[in-house]
């Protein structure tokens, strides 16, 4: 029998972990309203009580003096994330559909090997890829441009899209495809009319992962763009290089992670419905 202390133990553990998870956000939040004096005075947490809050940090990130402008990097990041995610989802679901429905055989290579090829690309460390990418983009005149960054980001995201969608398509009965074909749809129409409309949960999960990994990429942007295009993570990290204006850094960081935190709310909905389960196995 469970002891009466079990609930106490349970909620204590949950609360401790919640503090750890929320701590950095709380710290960033409180710091973003400080100024140099408040920061230099040692760690304080509660505005008005322990320090006098100012909006300096927040002003700085929107082009205030001595700060940066996060709007342009934000737009760049959004464009790159959305474009790369869309391309990856489109190419990824087509390929995943083929791998889930048809049998491929090329010598000893089977379907599972092709899936493995896709997924295994996640193992490539960005640092290994970045030098050749540099020369590749330079050769194509795409260095320091949005299209260039989109192309390399696709390499990061395509494996994720294929991984999620193969599992998802495997969960849709083949009879649905067969029925659509019997009903007069050639293969491509079958995919578009019968399968895609039933794949929304899978596409959502894949899009979520793509958005997370696309938005959060730093290394490629860091080494393949310089002056013309700057992404949001780059802009924030740039603040960190010299003597850190912590308040600006904190405000910029919160601004940078906010869009995806909203995403977490949405993901949880899918989780409760059990839609994610297919992607896990």
């Amino acid at each position: 029998m469970r002891s009466h202390l079990y609930p106490v133990f349970k909620y204590t553990v949950i609360a401790l972990w919640a503090c750890f998870v929320a701590g950095p956000f709380f710290w960033a939040m409180t710091t973003s309203f400080k100024n140099a004096n408040a920061v230099q005075g040692g760690p304080t947490y509660i505005p008005w009580v322990q320090y006098k809050p100012t909006l300096t940090g927040w002003r700085n990130i929107f082009g205030g003096a001595g700060g940066i402008d996060v709007i342009d990097p934000f737009v760049n990041s959004a464009i790159i994330t959305i474009a790369a995610s869309a391309i990856s989802l489109a190419l990824g679901s087509l390929a995943a559909y083929a791998l889930s429905r048809y049998r491929f055989r090329l010598g000893f290579i089977k379907n599972s090997d092709i899936v493995f090829f896709f997924v295994s690309q996640r193992i490539m460390p960005p640092v290994v890829l970045v030098i050749p990418f540099f020369y590749l983009l330079q050769w194509g005149g795409l260095l320091d441009s949005i299209p260039g960054l989109v192309i390399v980001t696709v390499a990061l995201l395509l494996p994720i899209a294929v991984w999620v969608m193969v599992d998802f398509f495997n969960g849709i009965p083949r009879e649905i495809d067969e029925m659509a074909m019997l009903d007069g749809c050639p293969p491509f129409q079958t995919f578009v009319r019968a399968i895609l409309p039933n794949s929304l949960p899978g596409l959502t999960v894949a899009a979520m992962f793509c958005a997370v990994f696309g938005w959060n990429d730093f290394f490629f942007a860091f080494r393949l763009t310089f002056t013309e295009v700057q992404t949001l993570p780059q802009a924030v990290v740039a603040l960190n290089s010299s003597i850190p204006p912590w308040w600006t850094l904190s405000a910029a960081a919160l601004f940078g992670v906010a869009p995806l935190i909203l995403l977490a709310l949405w993901v949880e909905r899918y989780l409760s419905k059990g839609n994610l389960s297919g992607a896990v196995r």
């Binding site: 649905i176 067969e178 019997l182 749809c185």
Partner: protein, 362 residues
């Protein structure tokens, strides 16, 4: 426009799914394919639909090579054992889907869908999603979709197998009415249930281990089963098959000797045979072959008593519900005049006379 299959063969991973299947399917007739699970029935339907490639053989329709025709141009509809519908479409759109593909006008589509849904009794369910329907209703939607398009070929793969007993009975009757005027559609219906095959089929094909063992009218197949295997597949419970000897038209089986010479066996040469006797032609009696009850099954209205005589298992079918205790010793009366005789290889050599169809009830 017959659909003719010749010598269709398919082997997957060393298992023969189709072995030289040759059959002709005629327009306007309902063909039931009966066989146990894994007999190759589903594979055959999938091959006809173009969903399954075959290793060899040919398939022609109206002089064209059907094997080269892609699935989406085969003019074929299929109803699956699992209730397969488009999950994202409501009932109306599910039925309309093939009609839209065929390029019908809006009004025509509406008319055909309404008519088709009415014929399966789902007129009031147009706006529901398949997931909001019961199993029986989902299968009706699938039926309506298959019927709405009026394809030249209609394939039904054990459409009732996953439904409750009562629903099965009800839909079987409905199907009979639905199929009664299908014009010149070729209908092919697979099942594991003899009663279903018999009552729905114009033509019955008996399939076993990838082969078609016998083709004929229900009456022919039931009354003249070509082999012991057919006899056991087309009867429910399976026909009792046992080895015995025939001497002067007199049958001897372990512990059982026919007291009367059976007229229909009289002119057969003496020797060893396999005999077949339907469960309805064996009864529990006060005297006869001694055996022991091993199991009793009760359907809604019949009792099946499983009896073992020596080593040989027998099934006895009794009308009505009767309480028979397991392990009880019983005596069986076997009717010699109803014996089917097969040679030792299992090929039919003599059948009891069933020329009674014209005789009025006795």
């Amino acid at each position: 426009m017959n659909l003719s299959a010749t010598d269709l063969c398919l082997t997957v991973d060393g298992v023969e799914h189709l072995r030289n299947v040759t059959a002709t399917f005629q327009p306007g007739r309902l063909h039931t394919v009966i066989g146990r699970t894994m007999a190759g029935k589903t594979t055959l339907l999938r091959a006809l639909a173009g969903l399954q490639k075959v290793d060899s053989g040919s398939l022609t329709r109206a002089g064209t090579d059907f094997l080269k025709t892609p699935v989406w141009r085969r003019d074929t509809a299929m109803v699956y054992q699992q209730f397969i519908n488009y999950p994202h479409l409501n009932v109306f759109d599910n039925v309309a889907f093939p009609l839209k593909r065929a390029g019908l006008s809006r009004d025509e589509i509406r008319r055909w869908v309404r008519q088709s849904l009415a014929s399966v009794g789902l007129a009031d369910f147009e706006r529901r999603k398949p997931s909001q329907l019961s199993g029986g209703q989902q299968q009706r939607v699938a039926m309506a979709r298959a019927l709405a398009r009026g394809t030249g070929i209609l394939l039904l793969d054990e459409p009732l197998a996953n439904l409750d007993y009562k629903l099965r009975e009800q839909l079987r009757d409905e199907f009979k009415a639905l199929f009664s005027d299908r014009g010149d559609t070729i209908v092919i219906y697979t099942t594991t249930e003899p009663a279903e095959a018999m009552m729905l089929g114009d033509v019955v094909l008996v399939m076993h281990e990838g082969r078609i063992l016998q083709t004929g009218t229900p009456q022919e197949v039931f009354e003249r089963p070509a082999t012991t295997t057919v006899a056991s597949i087309i009867n429910d419970p399976p026909m009792n098959i046992f080895a015995g000897r025939l001497e002067g038209g007199r049958v001897t089986v372990a512990g059982f000797q026919a007291t009367h010479v059976s007229a229909h066996l009289a002119d057969l040469p003496d020797g060893s045979y396999q005999f077949g006797l339907r469960a309805t032609d064996v009864s529990l009696a006060s005297s006869g072959v001694e055996g022991e009850v091993t199991f009793v099954e009760i359907s809604g209205s019949e009792t099946f008593v499983h009896v073992v005589v020596g080593e040989a298992p027998f099934v006895v079918q009794i009308e009505g519900i009767h309480d028979v205790a397991l392990g009880d010793p019983v005596k069986l009366r076997l009717r010699p005049d109803r014996l089917f005789a097969f040679d030792e290889q299992g090929t039919l050599v003599r059948t009891p006379s069933y020329d009674l169809a014209s005789v009025e009830g006795r």
